[in-house]
Subunit: 65 residues, 6 copies
Amino acid sequence: MPYINIKITDEQVSKEEKRLLIEGTTELIVKVLNKNPKTTHVVIEEIPLGNWGVDGKQYLGTKKH
Amino acid sequence: MPYINIKITDEQVSKEEKRLLIEGTTELIVKVLNKNPKTTHVVIEEIPLGNWGVDGKQYLGTKKH
Amino acid sequence: MPYINIKITDEQVSKEEKRLLIEGTTELIVKVLNKNPKTTHVVIEEIPLGNWGVDGKQYLGTKKH
Amino acid sequence: MPYINIKITDEQVSKEEKRLLIEGTTELIVKVLNKNPKTTHVVIEEIPLGNWGVDGKQYLGTKKH
Amino acid sequence: MPYINIKITDEQVSKEEKRLLIEGTTELIVKVLNKNPKTTHVVIEEIPLGNWGVDGKQYLGTKKH
Amino acid sequence: MPYINIKITDEQVSKEEKRLLIEGTTELIVKVLNKNPKTTHVVIEEIPLGNWGVDGKQYLGTKKH
C-alpha cells in the first residue's frame, strides 16, 4: 500500500533514471517495512524550474540542488 | 471545504470523463458527509506513464491498471 | 493505479462514513475510467479545524462547509 | 524545512507572479514561524482548467476564482 | 480556487500563528493573482519531527529549520 | 531540492525504520540524480488503517500490504 511521491525539478530526467528511482524506492520500502511491492506505488512529478523556490527565490536551473 | 486530489496516468482521459469524476466525487462527498458542494474542490492530476511505478516497475501503458 | 487523496476537516467522521467514501470513490473510478479496483488507492486525511482556512480565516467548526 | 505547495489553475501565470508568490510565502513563513528561509521550499503547480472542479463542475476559465 | 498546503514540523505552533499563516497566504494569493479569497483554501499539516528528514537525517527538533 | 513524501499506514513504524527510510531515499536521490542531500527533504506521513482503502475496502491491518 505505500504511496511515494517524488517531486523534482523538470530537468530532462531520463526514463532510465526514473526507472531507477521507482525500483530503488520500492526495494527500500520492501526491505525496511516488509511491504508488498505489488501494492507499492511511486509517482514522480517534475516541476518547471520557475515554479520551485528555495530561500524565497526561484531556481535558476543548476543541476546540483 | 473538502479537497479531493485524483492522480491517474495520463492516457487521453476525455473532458467528459473528467467532468464525470468531478461531479461524481462531489456528489459522494455531499451525500456521505453532508458537505457544501460550493466549497468542495476536486483536482485531477495526470501523470506520464513513465513517471508512475508499481511493483518497482514503470507502467507500460495498458489501460487496466 | 489511481490514487485518490481526500482531505476533510477532522470532525468525528465515522468508520462507516470512511468506508462509504472509499467504496464510492473506487466505484466511480472503475465506472468512469475502467480502472482496476485492486490497484485503486483511496487515502483520507483529517485536518484539525484550526489548520484549515478559507477566505483567510480558520474554520470555526460548523459541519456544513 | 517548511514545504509549501500552491495549486492554482493554469492561466498564464507569469514568471514574475510566481516569483512574488515564492518570495511572499517564504517571508510569511519566516516572519510568523521564525523558520530558516534557506530550507523553505515553495512549489507551484498549475492545473489545467478542465481538471479542476468546484460545486461539482469544471472551471470555465474565468480568472476570478 | 487556489489550494495551498503548508507542511511544517509539529512544534507547538499556536492557533494564532496558524491564523496568521492562513490570513497572510490568502492575502498574498489575492494580491498577486487577483483570486477570490472565498474559494482560496489553506491547509496546514504538522509533521512529527522524527518523520521529517533533510540531508538524510531526521530532524532533531531545533526550531530554526 | 527534491521533496519526497512517503505515505504508509500507521502501524507502529519505529523511529529506526523511519531513519532508514529517510537515509535510503536520500541516498537514492543523490546517486541517481546527483542532487544535493542538504536540500533533499523526506516527509513520512502515517495514515490510520481505516483511512486507507484498496479495492474499495478499508485496510484491516495486516502488515503485508
